[in-house]
């Protein structure tokens, strides 16, 4: 630990309580950091690709998650090491930004770190390595743009979108019915997409799951599902051409926010108050009825009396609907959320072609379907599956697929998957490396090697000979000058990813390379780790 001496030779302390802290400096620190980063990426490496394996994660409370999604694995892993936390961040930012490729980005970063370690051993300064990586990443991203292809799709021609989503889903457990799920995801995205503005608000897609049934029963509902039932068991279970009043005020006596007291000191007052109360309930229900509502959806609870009045006047109602659902219902049905009974007008009612209650299984599980809405800009994906973990994993997979579809709508450029893009970039970077004078050249070479590690991992996970396969594909790419050759993970028999229809989005790939480079640069620049020691 550093000990400094003043001009009289007396030692003084720089770090407070320094003997309680552990400290790593210089090359030691860098090596420790790299080792930590590599360890994280090693965990994810086996999850990459269509033949990637899953992980079981057991939370502190004993709940089990089984997943293949890089971001989820890292998030739940309970990481303690600082550098490992950076890797977790990396995967999370890829998740927020792109939604897919969360595993790939960590594997890439791990490979870059591994290469950097070798360069460090040769005595190359970390900053020079970082700079070399930076240059190389630029070349790689340019190359990606170069090899990318645009494809056209419209609301009617969704096949290319479906294929890209299928590539994403093929690495998940749901790949058994990936076509079905991919179609659902694409249809959902198309339904809510603003094709002119090229924007998609994924909040409009609600992903709901219920255990039971089989994965094939997963469906897309052009409308909303609410996990609630009618407030009174004897209300009608099906309403056609519903006019929906969406309320955020309870069917309960008023509760003014100012503090107040109602004093009762005579019998008359007691009686008038009673009448008032009755009238109040009556008015509330009558108002809803007057504007022509045939269904009331309320954020709050109902008083027993109000509930019966609603029932009595044949006005079905749903209570305790959450705020988010309420908003979605309002958007879907074109209604307005009404905070007070007085403001209820016929224009503010939402419209839906069909509202029905559906029950599941042997328990009293019921859900409310609101379908054929005035505005179909809100959809629900309703997942069924054999068990809870399956549903959760399907939700995550669908989320990835939705993100991919959204990215394609934003930017319709694609690159080919199966490691072909990485191999092509690696070739381009290697070719460019020789043009750089100076030590950076080595770093650029190293970058090219790191790019190779993604297809290598793919091949490894698919049970192929990694080095043999990679070199064969690489030479094929150079010989035929065709960047579409990748790893044939599914044993289809061709290396041409164009024939296999394996696509990935351009921005996803670009983002992967950029984010991985950034994090690695950051890690390389650290030369001193001070942490409080355990006690």
């Amino acid at each position: 630990m550093a000990l400094a001496f003043d001009e009289y030779g007396r030692p003084f302390i720089i770090l407070k309580e320094q003997d309680q802290k552990t400290r790593l400096r210089g090359i030691e620190a860098q090596k420790a950091n790299i080792a930590a980063g590599k360890a994280v990426s090693r965990i994810l490496r086996t999850s990459l690709g269509p033949k990637g394996m899953d992980k079981i994660l057991q939370s502190p409370d004993g709940d089990v998650t089984i997943t293949n999604d890089g971001a989820t694995i890292l998030e739940q892993m309970d990481v303690d090491n600082q550098i490992a936390k950076l890797m977790v961040e990396l995967s999370r930012s890829q998740d927020y930004e792109i939604g897919d490729g969360t595993t790939g980005v960590v594997v890439m970063a791990g490979a870059l770190l591994e290469q950097a370690e070798r360069l460090l051993e040769r005595g190359i300064h970390p900053i020079r390595i970082a700079e070399g990586y930076e240059m190389a990443s630029k070349i790689a991203v340019e190359n990606l743009v170069h090899i990318s292809q645009k494809f056209d799709f419209g609301a009617t021609n969704i096949k290319p979108l479906v294929q890209t989503c299928m590539t994403t889903l093929s690495s998940k457990i749901v790949n058994r019915c990936k076509r079905h799920l991919a179609e659902i995801s694409v249809k959902a995205v198309i339904a809510v997409a603003d094709l002119e503005r090229k924007d998609v608000n994924l909040d409009m897609i609600k992903v709901e799951g219920k255990v039971g049934g089989k994965l094939e029963d997963t469906e897309l509902i052009y409308g909303i599902t609410v996990d609630k039932d009618m407030s009174h068991p004897q209300m009608p279970k099906q309403i056609e051409d519903a006019k929906i009043a969406i309320l955020t005020c309870p069917f309960e006596p008023p509760k003014p926010k100012t503090k107040h007291k109602v004093e009762i000191d005579t019998v008359e007052k007691f009686q008038t108050l009673r009448l008032q109360e009755q009238k109040y309930f009556d008015d509330m229900v009558q108002k809803c009825k007057d504007v022509g509502a045939t269904l009331v959806i309320c954020q709050w609870g109902f008083d027993d009396e109000a509930n019966h009045l609603l029932m009595n006047r044949n006005l079905p109602a749903v209570r305790w609907v959450g705020g988010v659902e309420l908003e979605l219902i309002a958007i879907a049905t074109g209604g307005r959320i009404v905070p007070r009974f007085q403001e209820l007008t016929p224009e503010k009612l939402g419209r839906a072609g069909m509202v029905r209650e559906k029950s599941f299984g042997t328990t009293k599980d019921k859900m409310l379907y609101i379908e054929h809405c005035a505005n179909s800009r809100a959809v629900t994906i309703f997942i069924r599956g054999g068990n809870k973990m399956m549903i959760e994993e399907t939700k995550r997979s669908i989320h990835d697929a939705l993100c991919v579809a959204r990215n394609l709508i934003r930017n319709n450029s694609i690159v080919y998957g199966g490691g072909s893009a990485e191999i092509s970039c690696s070739i381009a970077v290697e070719a460019a490396a020789d043009k750089y004078p100076g030590v950076e050249q080595y770093a650029i070479w190293a970058f090219a090697d790191a790019l190779d590690s993604v297809p290598m991992a793919l091949a490894e996970n698919s049970g192929l000979q990694p080095i043999e396969t990679l070199s064969a594909v690489k030479s094929q790419q150079i010989k035929e000058n065709n960047p579409h050759y990748g790893i044939d993970c599914n044993d289809v028999g061709t290396n041409d990813m164009r024939q296999q229809d394996v696509f990935e989005t351009l921005i996803g790939k670009q983002q992967q390379i950029l984010l991985a480079t950034q994090v690695v640069k950051m890690i390389l620049k650290i030369d001193d780790v001070i942490s409080p020691s355990e006690y």
């Binding site: 033949k51 899953d54 089989k214 004093e263 042997t362």
Partner: protein, 527 residues
């Protein structure tokens, strides 16, 4: 230099082979645990809770056993979860699903040891499951259009389900009971409408299904004990003190006389409410909430039977059977639908008085009264009956039926074996393994019955190579028998759910190559 620890202190990481081992071992252990309960000669388990009183449950129901286990192994948790889902979704087959998933994993373990990649096994299993499902689908019997035959099917299914439970002694009786109850639901799957009342005493065969409806409540004091042609108002309203609901209201008075006045007014209010209720022209009033003495007295005066504190389910069921609506306000007597029944009377079962509504109008709900020697017997009987009811109500919706007692497994095995022979590549090993796992079920059934399983299964297999064979294991005589003659049937939906969820679960566990366990949350030590 040592690699820094990445995970927190108590967190745990298991990789590759070790992880796979851990999940296989966990899953197989769970399977072995419930295996012995399978089939008509399956044994029961005693479960003792760790809670206060160390309550004891004796059961044969897979879902109940697994639910009560405290398991730490993640793979075992997956199996428990599928059994729970099976229970919620179809109600029966909770043991079979776990056993099948476990057997699939046991076979997979051997394949992994023979250096076959888990992904290859998975794709083989998938193909096999699909093939098995199709094979079964071709042999289903659907008697949807023939009401009499369909009822026979239901009867058979109920008997098959019950034969593995404590009720097997009186299975014909209970099967009839369950079928009658479910037929009354008229296609709805809402089993809430079937009320099961358990009263210790008597023997199991004293149990009965009541045509009408029984409410486990007492009749108020001084009120008629027997009403003919009852008009019933079902209500959910406060009959204690009718509070002023307007927020912030409070009474402030300055003299005793005023208090008395207000009290009088309150009483008056209640009296008015009671009057209004009486004005509906009813002679029975059932409320979900409490009824205080004062209104009760008023009702008694008017000769009206008032029942208080019927819980929510009771109210709902009563509304269902009598066709009345649950009312909370009483200002519009003309628009409130009243419930009707021919006779209300107090009956005695054992030592308890119950209220019996008979001759009900709609009759969508019904009551089953279970009698038995002890609470444990009753609890288990309820669970068994619940299973039967679940299966029946699902069968009413999906009317396809298959034969039971190992027949479906053999049919599937045959098809899967065929597929294995036609499939080139490593997958065929996995497909074969799938068929071995399927055969394990009849083997276990035979083993549990103390029969020579190897011999029986071999015979069965030979039988099934003939066309259109109905052979299955006849556990009673210990030989291969014709299932169509023995009237052993199962619901197709249950079998399908077992097959699909077991494959799904096995697949899920097979895909895992790493287990990361977080540090358990520290509990505060309370000394």
């Amino acid at each position: 230099m040592a690699i820094e620890r990445i995970l927190k202190d108590d967190a745990n990481e298991e990789k590759g082979e070790r992880a796979r081992m851990a999940s296989f071992v966990g899953a197989i252990a769970i399977t072995d645990l419930v295996k012995t309960t399978l089939g008509p000669k399956g044994m029961d388990k005693i479960l003792q809770s760790t809670g206060r009183g160390q309550e004891v449950t004796v059961t044969n129901d897979g879902a109940t056993i697994l639910k009560s286990l405290h398991i730490d192994n993640p793979a075992a948790k997956v199996l428990i979860d599928i059994s729970k889902v099976q229970d919620d979704e179809v109600g029966d087959g909770t043991t079979s699903v776990v056993v099948l998933a476990g057997e699939l994993l046991r076979e997979a373990e051997k394949l992994v040891a023979a250096k076959i990649h888990p992904m290859t096994i998975i794709s083989g299993y998938r193909m096999a499951a699909e093939c098995a499902c199709n094979a079964l689908l071709q042999r289903v019997v659907d008697n949807k259009d023939n009401a009499v035959k369909f009822k026979m099917d239901l009867m058979k299914i109920a008997m098959t389900t019950l034969s593995s439970k404590i009720l097997s002694q009186d299975k014909v009786y209970f099967a009839q009971l369950a079928v009658d109850a479910v037929m009354r639901l008229k296609g709805s799957t809402n089993l809430e409408a079937i009320q099961i009342i358990k009263k210790p005493g008597g023997s199991l065969s004293d149990s009965f299904l009541d045509e009408g409806f029984i409410l486990d409540k007492k009749i108020g004091l001084g009120q008629p004990k027997r009403i003919e042609n009852a008009k019933i108002l079902v209500a959910n309203t406060a009959m204690d003190t009718d509070k002023v609901k307007i927020y912030g209201a409070r009474v402030r008075v300055d003299s005793m006389s005023k208090v008395a006045e207000i009290e009088e007014a309150e009483k008056e209010k209640m009296r008015e409410k009671v009057q209004k209720i009486i004005a509906h022209g009813i002679n029975c009033f059932v409320n979900r909430q409490l009824i205080y003495n004062f209104p009760e007295e008023l009702f008694a005066d008017a000769g009206i039977l008032a029942i208080e504190h019927a819980d929510f389910d009771g109210i709902e069921r009563l509304a269902l059977v009598t066709g009345g609506e649950i009312a909370s306000t009483f200002d519009n007597p003309e628009s409130v639908k009243l419930g009707h029944c021919k006779l209300i009377e107090e009956i005695m079962i054992g030592e308890d008085k119950l209220i019996h509504f008979s001759g009900v109008e709609i009759g969508q709900a019904c009551t089953i009264v279970l009698r038995g020697a002890s609470h444990h017997v009753l609890d288990e009987a309820e669970r068994s009956l619940h299973d039967a009811l679940c299966v029946l109500s699902q069968t009413v919706n999906d009317t396809r039926v298959v034969l039971g007692a190992g027949w479906p497994e053999m049919v599937m095995t045959k098809a899967v074996d065929e597929l294995a022979r036609q499939t080139p590549g490593k997958k065929s090993h996995a497909i074969e393994a799938f068929s071995r796992a399927l055969i394990a079920i009849p083997t276990i059934i035979a083993d549990n019955a103390g029969l020579d399983s190897a011999d029986l299964v071999a015979q069965l297999r030979a039988e099934h190579h003939k066309k259109e064979c109905n052979a299955g294991i006849d556990v009673i005589t210990g030989s291969v028998g014709d299932m169509a003659e023995l009237a052993i049937s199962e619901s197709f939906k249950v079998k399908q759910a077992v097959l699909l969820s077991a494959t799904e679960a096995a697949e899920m566990i097979l895909r895992v190559d790493e287990i990361i366990t977080c540090a358990p949350r520290k509990r505060e030590d309370r000394m």
